[in-house]
Amino acid sequence: MSLTIPKPSPCALFSGQALQPLPLNDFAALCLQRLQQGERLLSLFGRAATPADAGDWVLTAVFLPPEGALYVVRGQARRGEHYPSLSASHPAAQIHERELWEQTGVVPEGHPWLKPVRFEGERQQHMADYPFFTVRGNEVHEVGVGPIHASVIEPGHFRFMCHGERVIHLEIQLGYQHRGAQALLLRRPAWSLTPIIESIAGDSAVAYAWAHCQAMEALSGRPVSADTAQSRAVGLEMERIAMHVATLNGLATDIAYLQAAATYGRLRTAIINASQRVCGNRFGRGWLRPGWARSLPTELRDDLRKTLQGFARDIHEVNGLMRSARSVKARFVGTGVLSPQAALDMGLAGVVARASGVALDLRKRLPGAYEHAPIATVTAPTGDCWARMDLRMREIDASVTWLLEALARAPGEQAAARAPAAPEGENAALAARTLCVSLVEGTRGPVLQAIETSDSGGLLHHQVQDPSLANWFGLALAVRDNGISDFPICNKSFDLSYCGNDL
């Protein structure tokens, strides 16, 4: 079995020495050193120790250096063991350390705000017991919103500390969507997990499925053809366009600009209906499976190109209307500013970080399928609601341009019309004692999945991480010193995932 993966790759395999765990304090010291070198902490998670491991938990930290390949640091810990918190000096670690503590009981000593991320396990149904951060003062008051919100939207609780209408601080409480998704993934055959993966964050089904399939293919030493990879990228860019248009629709709705909202609504319909013609589902479910993706024969390519050409013409017009309307500028310019420094310090990623000038896009940094057909990285410097709106408009343009070029190329080798049946017996074997970290730049940012295999090649751990995990804190920072009535547009301009956070 060959395990070589061409570089630069959004998917990395680790085995042997690379997986040897360090004692907890050495692990923390090495993580700190990497953070000090300017590396980005992508993820930090624990899995239960096996009889072969020391301690109760095996920890994995995933780093993305400014250049070069992904890197992991491994540690071991006992339940309740303490280590010096990384967040004290590197706030970007805060959410990861909180998640690790919640799931393993390993304590980051000196963490400024050790709050459960999603109230899982024994903390389920105890969300109301949590003591919210309070701001004292004669005229300070609190506004609590949710978990159920006014519109058709996922649940989460927002607690505003206000002075008059000015927001001093926002505390975001999530976890209402916690379905125990990660635990479920270990209970079923490894090769039949894609429909569950597609349901973790249903608006990012293609990104999630791709990250999962990529990991399974790497672990079984079966890389897919360039045509399969291209079909997946087409599915992903269609998903990106549809979701960005949904956000623009929401932004227009939230400022009661109904003409733009109505137009974005029908433009999204055109894109998701085209995805349905490819894969049977408006959300891209069934577009890909391990080792396979929908083939794009000439007639389907022509269909998609025609849809995209009509779409491009009309979205250009309505985007022009949005950008030139004074009422839109009045609401969005200078509202909900997230500074570039804050975005970097907090380790934010994806659209939100790029709208604050952080030029990180995995499609460029670890291109994989995009290596021979690069896609433009778009950034904006101002970090306000306007920047996040404008960035989405420009990312739509970049995706449309990329798709029209990709679809103009002659179709290559066609995949089977149906997904292959899941492999069985020896064919289903995965590399034993191996960790695969797999990344896909989804609509919101990097979707991460990490799969670790046991001595017998079974699934030992399946980590799933949405880009929203780190980005939610960016929203809390952005609304400070804003009017509380601007919260809906700030929230929509971030457009983060609740279920992707809560898993």
Binding site: R118, Q124, A150, S151, Y176, L184, P195, S199, Q276, G280
Partner: protein
């Protein structure tokens, strides 16, 4: 002003005139079971199904569990399974959602005279997502867009449970949302109804085995309408609810 007019012109006429007759191109909808024998002791479809929707001898698919992923189709060595683009998947009875080779159609939605009289011209619904993946939530939003325009029948989503005649439930009902769902339901004035939208709400869907769920709400309240899908297609939602309320259209 000119830009506004240009955008309005490009918009054209978008609404689907005949919502009951509309057929979504390419949609993977109602499963079809061929009347052929299964291979000896074959359980391929059973083991690939992510949501325990399939039972054997004879082969039956429960659309209350099925996520329409289609993975059973290539797994079946006997070619017994396929999927049509039929969106009419709704039923008023939970047991009515099961299809077999002999019983290819799910039970039609029973028109309720009482519901027709009370809500036939105006039905206001409150949505609660209790672990929904944002698929059903986005499709529920889509029922109100310029294409589907469900508002033309007086059926709308409202912000407050106090303004609502019923609740649209999405998601498998997480333990962390169970209390909020109860509070919301209690806040809706009588008479009121529940609509279970999507495989998750109906049965737990792919999350049914999770120990992070608390589905006791559905032991207290029986939905008036079950809307299968993953997510439920807007046309499934619309045709189901028009049938339930006896709305011609």
């Amino acid at each position: 002003m000119l830009k506004t007019i240009a955008v309005r012109r490009s918009q054209g006429t978008q609404y689907i005139a005949d919502l009951r007759g509309a057929v979504p191109a390419g949609f993977r909808g109602k499963p079809l079971i061929a009347d052929t024998a299964c291979a000896d002791s074959c359980q391929a479809c059973l083991s690939i199904c992510p949501s325990h929707a399939i039972e054997l001898a004879p082969l039956r698919i429960d659309l209350g569990r099925c996520v329409l992923c289609g993975d059973c189709e290539p797994a079946c060595p006997s070619g017994k399974l396929s999927f049509s683009n039929d969106v009419k998947l709704a039923s008023t009875r939970r047991e009515g959602l099961v299809v077999t080779a002999a019983r290819a159609h799910i039970d039609p939605v029973q028109v309720s005279a009482a519901l027709h009289q009370r809500f036939g011209r105006s039905l206001k619904l409150r949505s609660v997502s209790a672990g929904g993946c944002n698929g059903c939530e986005m499709e529920l939003n889509a029922t109100g867009n310029v294409n589907f325009d469900l508002g033309r029948y007086g059926i709308d989503i409202v912000a407050s449970p106090r303004h609502a005649d019923g609740l649209v439930l999405t998601g498998p009902i997480t333990r962390n949302m169970a209390q909020a769902l109860d509070i919301c339901w209690d806040a809706i004035p009588e008479p009121k109804l529940v609509i279970a939208m999507g495989a998750c709400a109906i049965s737990g869907g792919v999350f049914a085995d999770s120990d992070a769920l608390d589905r006791s709400f559905l032991e207290k309240v029986t939905p008036s309408l079950y809307l299968p899908g993953c997510p439920t297609h807007p046309l499934t939602f619309i045709s189901g609810i028009l049938d339930l309320l006896g709305i011609a259209g």
